[in-house]
Symmetry: C2
Subunit: 427 residues, 2 copies
């Protein structure tokens, strides 16, 4: 039995999938009895199909794939939530199984497409939507299900992790690190989705939904990016025995789900602290398994295609054996999302302020007024602009109080010289 | 549909499984539609059943479980290859599915029991046999199958990793570290299986079989333990920028499979180098996915039970849905096992030798005679016994030549004062 594949999107990841098929098609037959064949390829650019030697399968119109009765599995790799949603929905409606790498789609319309798949008795698989090649969705949906998962924390955006690593290793500024990441193809011309944390937010929404058996969408995730991080923050963290990572965090608490993305100080001894460059890692804590971590390359043709083709082969295996979908939507619980204002943690906050008398006292007054207890404050000069950097580390404080501090300090006349850098301290 | 479980073995891991069932039985129904029920419990010690409140299910005779027509899944947790083999074989022959944590059984009789399961159209699952709670067998059998796996390297024995960590952190001797591990319950009274590497060898045999789609058994694994490692070796490694770990290694080469367990020097920057204490990690390299690592607790009631119950729930899910076994034996290829004598790598070798003139020259002659090129040699005195330690680091050399060097030096009259410490250098 030959399982026929229709590929929509022939960019980096799609090209990687074609490569894997061309290299290992015979291995899949011999090892697993899975016979897959690329039947049709769609993209906006015929040259990409040509470059991979599949011009004969090419179409510009994805309807040629979703309407082809011979095609068993549609692979959606165009990304976004408009055309991609149409492709996925119409493929499922036409009775196809779907494999996608689309984190934005799954983090916003996940419930819709999973229920549609269930209704049609078809599979939708999306391992590649989080962590590139790292197996994480499959372990959460299978190996770890005897656990109550209490926490998922991940470095799930390779672009920002690369930038932070370069800022530490070679003392690059944020702008220099971003430029280098763009030149090396790790960041887009418009880096917003990465540096402002939205890419990571989509991924933690997906992971939290699976881990906690409760729907978490992109809108539920409190999201902050790395734009305000400077080398001074990284140096200070280093002095304190910490590293700074853009962490995607989801905790299960007795009151509900705490889910957020923001720059975070992690102790150097934490297993996530040594995950550098474009590598990703997801740290999962369960009530039986204890602490586990899944590490690997978070992006790139090979890793992402490994995950996509792993899903394709699994679905093809089920089709070959005549097995109906095994795992559908598992969001059976309806846990509340905790307001970020209720968060209680430690904070590192750096203010670039005017270098004049009275500022430090005024700021101390604001912290005291809102009941935010300061553990340490370090002042460092910045000769260029008559500005000094004041780096505060607080005791455990309530997010709402810290926000009140930030708002009131922002309103002080002629004090702030730049946006403060706010970094929560984990562990 | 209620899936009935028969548990054979109520020690640490068996107790952990009972705990999980008691805690999460209702969650499994609600989240996954899986209804499992512990129907019978067998062990040599009724008190263990009593301690977990399951005396009413207790039997001393495992035949009461394998012959019970109501039982769907037999969980074998007694270990070893004699009675455990009988339990597994007779359970499969009676048409039961089997979940086991038994590495020795799978590394020696794996082929037999997997073929028997296939013949009976039943499942045998053994995630807990490697790496405690870490999902590794399942990812290798599912998520990563679009790859040609080229290498699997693991810290898969928590006892020795704990000992080596304690020797580094607190400068404990081998004997002190072993004593402490025994006192804390991390090492058996007879520590042979751990410290001589056999436990790790069974695990890498299982991993290599799956990763390379080719049968590798315990006997195929060249195995050396950590008995000859001293704090001097660990300090020297540290000076060189390395850590010493007991690594289980399997490489796919164009000529066949290179599989072995031995103390290994790893660069400090390697992701495995920071895996300390009783933690385990498995580092997998594939042609598409690149480098990935799976980290977690390698032993203990919770982690091992997490893996066992993950398998149980997966099999139960299949039974509930009426799904036949999905993945059977995948050892379709028949790759040769490379003789360890053909290995080419760098070596660290420490000799404790008599403190007298002529020894260094005699040893240099032996290295030269067998064509083993020495990169550095460091001499350190040991005032106690008129002994000095000579620590050699070689350039890349052939294992057979290094063995010839070791044999010839062992034969030199009145030179060696102790067994040499031989550590291969990776990366």
């Amino acid at each position: 039995m030959t399982i026929k594949l229709g590929l929509v999107g022939t960019g980096t990841v799609g090209g990687g999938c074609i490569d894997i098929l061309q290299k290992h098609k015979e291995d899949f037959k011999r090892h697993y009895g899975i016979d897959v064949e690329l039947a049709r390829v769609c993209s906006r650019d015929p040259k990409q199909a040509e470059a991979h030697g599949v011009s004969d399968l090419f179409t510009l119109d994805y309807h040629d794939i979703v309407n082809d009765p011979d095609i068993d599995i549609v692979i959606e790799l165009i990304g976004g939530t408009t055309v991609a949603r149409d492709v996925v929905v119409s493929a499922l409606e036409a009775g196809k199984n779907v494999v996608t790498a689309n984190k934005a789609l799954m983090a916003t319309h996940g419930e819709e497409v999973m229920h549609l798949a269930e209704k049609m008795n078809r599979e939708i698989a999306f391992e590649a939507s989080v962590g590139g090649g790292i197996p994480i969705i499959d372990p959460l949906k299978h190996s770890l299900i005897s656990n109550e998962i209490t926490s998922v924390m991940g470095i799930v955006n390779g672009t920002t992790n690369y930038m932070l690593t370069r800022m530490v290793d070679d003392n690059l500024s944020y702008d220099e690190a971003l430029k280098e990441a763009q030149e090396r193809g790790f960041a887009e011309a418009d880096p917003t989705a990465d540096v402002d944390g939205f890419d990571a937010a989509a991924k933690i929404a997906i992971l939290a939904s699976i881990a906690f058996n409760s729907r978490v969408t992109l809108d539920d995730v409190h999201t902050e990016g790395i734009r305000n991080i400077t080398t001074l923050d990284l140096d200070t963290a280093d002095d304190m025995g910490y590293v700074i990572k853009l962490l995607a965090i989801a905790h299960r608490t007795p009151d509900g789900i705490d889910v957020r993305v923001h720059p975070t100080m992690l102790p150097k001894a934490h297993q996530l602290a040594t995950v550098n460059g474009v590598f990703n890692a997801i740290y999962v804590t369960g009530d039986a398994v204890g602490e586990t971590m899944f590490f690997g390359e978070g992006a790139g043709a090979g890793p992402a295609a490994s995950a996509v083709m792993g899903d394709v082969l699994e679905v093809a295996r089920h089709l070959t054996l005549g097995v109906s979908p095994i795992v559908g939507c598992t969001c059976t619980d309806n846990l509340p999302i905790l307001p970020v204002e209720d968060l209680q943690t430690k904070y590192y906050i750096r203010f670039a302020v005017a270098d004049r008398s009275g500022v430090l006292a005024a700021m101390a007054g604001v912290f005291a007024k809102h009941g935010v207890s300061v553990r340490s404050v370090v002042q460092r000069g910045n000769s260029e602009h008559e500005t000094v950097n004041l780096s505060y580390v607080t005791h455990t404080a309530k997010e709402a109080s810290v926000r009140a501090v930030l708002a009131e300090i922002a309103g002080l006349e002629d004090v702030l010289r730049a946006e403060p850098s706010v970094i929560r301290v984990e562990g």
